[in-house]
Amino acid sequence: MSSIATKTSGRTGRAGRTGQRTFARGVHPPGHKGPAADASIEVMPPPGELAIPLLQHLGAPCEAVVKPKQEVAAGEMLGKATSFISAPVHSPIAGAAQRASVATLPNGRHVKTIPVKAAGEQLSGRALWNDVLGGEWPADLDQYDAERILQAVQEAGIVGQGGAAFPTHVKLTLNENKPIDTIVVNGCECEPYLTADYRLMLEAPQPIIVGSRLAARAVRAKRIVVAIEDNKPLAIDAMRLAAGKSNVEVVPLKTKYPMGGERQTILASLGRKVPTGGLPLDVGVVVLNVGTAAAVARAVVRGKALTHRVVTVSGAGIVKPKNLLVPVGITYSELIDHCGGLTPDAARVLAGGPMMGFALGVMKTPVTKGTSGVTVLTHADVARAAETACVRCGRCVDVCPLGLVPTKIALASKHKDWDLARRYHIQACVECGCCAYACPSAIPLVQLMRTGKAELPRE
């Protein structure tokens, strides 16, 4: 029996008014949270070898600082940041660094990796859990000032855990022209099948709260809002309990895709519209994923780098769906094997959720800091009728959360009519997938928009 409600429970009071707890349009794919929702986070046993990519974030790749055969301790830096928008990478295990290698990430990029062969004692099981997420977390944070918080976050190599992997210290750097008044902690997890953030909120709410408060101190934000979709009532209760008497507010939002997209989360929880082409800081907001907040807490309070994260392995094509605490650099195939392997009718293995995830061609790809889940879909899940002509029914217009006209943009992209594409605001598209989800003619709208954006000539 799933502990997540599959329908909106309606306990949000003013759910339904745009700007108050929800946003206009969007789609309602079935949540499929059942399989993994009740699986408490299992600590993955430390592997014999890891390959840590030197690019796991948006920004410039790292430069290796270790030589082959060099002994490294758990948490030691393997690659240093090469610019402001970059983040160092560290080894999750103790062992010996190997000669640099190359891996292909799920998004198709080839990146250099530093393999590390395990040697000596490794933290595992309960001890590892306590080191990363468990144990005691302080309630009094006065000893941590903004400078110290920022430095700890940067040195720990923390990047956004929601999928975009943007270096967090850049987000938390004070900008005199754009003051921040609110931190939004994103616990929406709107993608079907994924339950990593949900389980984190249930099992380790304290580091999330501590991390949010530290982030607020760093940017001098007055308000902290934890946004959670209302299909996770237990998580809402757990976070409220952990927030206690602190100034952290928990705000339930209507369950809808893409409620977890930061523009929609900000619109629904605060009623503010992030300008097209702009960032949340343009409206005085910084958005952090719950996992990122927990990592911030670990970095500032315990001085530990970002080396582990929670990943959901789910879908009808996996034998035993689970939520796992995994070290960065472990391969997808090891995760799949740990969960009983693939079912015979498995068809697509996705890095991420089914709406925006990348299909994997090679299973021996390393997990990165931005990997939130592995979703395995069966042939029945992905079966689709052949593409037919657009009948201009307007369903894509009805569901686009940004108010665009996807069919026109796709048409412009197909015919390379860049004036038409610009007139319909092609660059405002966030590729959420609502349009392709709703299209009755099975047109690959997102793919057409993506190629259009890539081929758009610079003005």
């Binding site: 300008p275 392997g341 693939l342 697509r348 009948v391 307007g394 009755p440 997102v446 003005e459």
Partner: protein
Amino acid sequence: MTETSSNNGKETSAPSLHVAPAPHLFGKALTTRRMMLDVLIALTPLMATAIWVFHWYAVVQVGICVLTCVASEAAFTVVRRRSVSVGDLSAVVTGVILGLSLPWKAGWHVGVISSVVAIGIGKVIFGGLGHNIFNPAMVGRAFVTIAFPLALGSAGYVLADSSLNVVTQATPLTAAKQGGAIAPLWALLAGNVNGSLGETSAAACLLGGLYLCLRRSASWEIPAGSIVGLVLVGGIQNLVNSHEGFTVLHHLLGGAFLYGAFFIATDPVSSPLTHKGKWIYGFIFGVVVMLIRLFSGYPEGVQFTVLFVNGLAPLINRWTVPTPVGGPVPSPAGK
């Protein structure tokens, strides 16, 4: 294609995996075929009323149109060396809508020619489903209106010595224009008046139209805008000529207006894409239908109005490009 691989010492057959772009989940219930099916279901009250009022003539007329539309589509696509797409039911829908818009008395040649023109010139020449600018059924009907003016004019509806009582009178709109008896409102609602096969019963049109809008297979903004437009012009006319018996309500319930607003103007291919655009489109439709009814020689204006607003649809699309949430994309200079 499955190979065996050893996994933990056991032999398992490896699943066949593939890659594809996101998204990997779809709303499965929605297909174009399903939308066409919804239109056919929504047309059943009109078909039933047509058979009740016009008996066998309704079946023959609609049957001829459907068969000819399907056959034409099959023939034309073969000639263009494309795969036959009759399974998507769009030709059947065109056939039923066209058949229901013809008078009971029009000969088989009218049905056949209008169907061939509707599919061939209204649809196939533009590139098939989704590419036509004008509503195919109305293209076919307009062609035969001009080619066979007697068969589709006011006289084409009346047979003075018929056993079928309802067709011995002129259609309500013709009667109003030529100063004859005003049909009572309940008759316009129920449908036992003369007229084209599908247009006579306002209740059937509303019932079918409501189903279509609730199923989201037609955009409700178009009939809503049409009713607003019609009531505006009809209301003004009503106030100015208050002694005339044919009120704005008669205009609303009589003639082909409701049939056109719910079933013909809502054809997604030939109507605008945006919400604002659909309101404007519907409004213009309602206004122009009334103008043709009041000021032109024709008693009814729906078919020409549909073609007129179809021509305006690309312009309306251009006028109503929505601004994204968060404002327009900033120009590089202005950043």
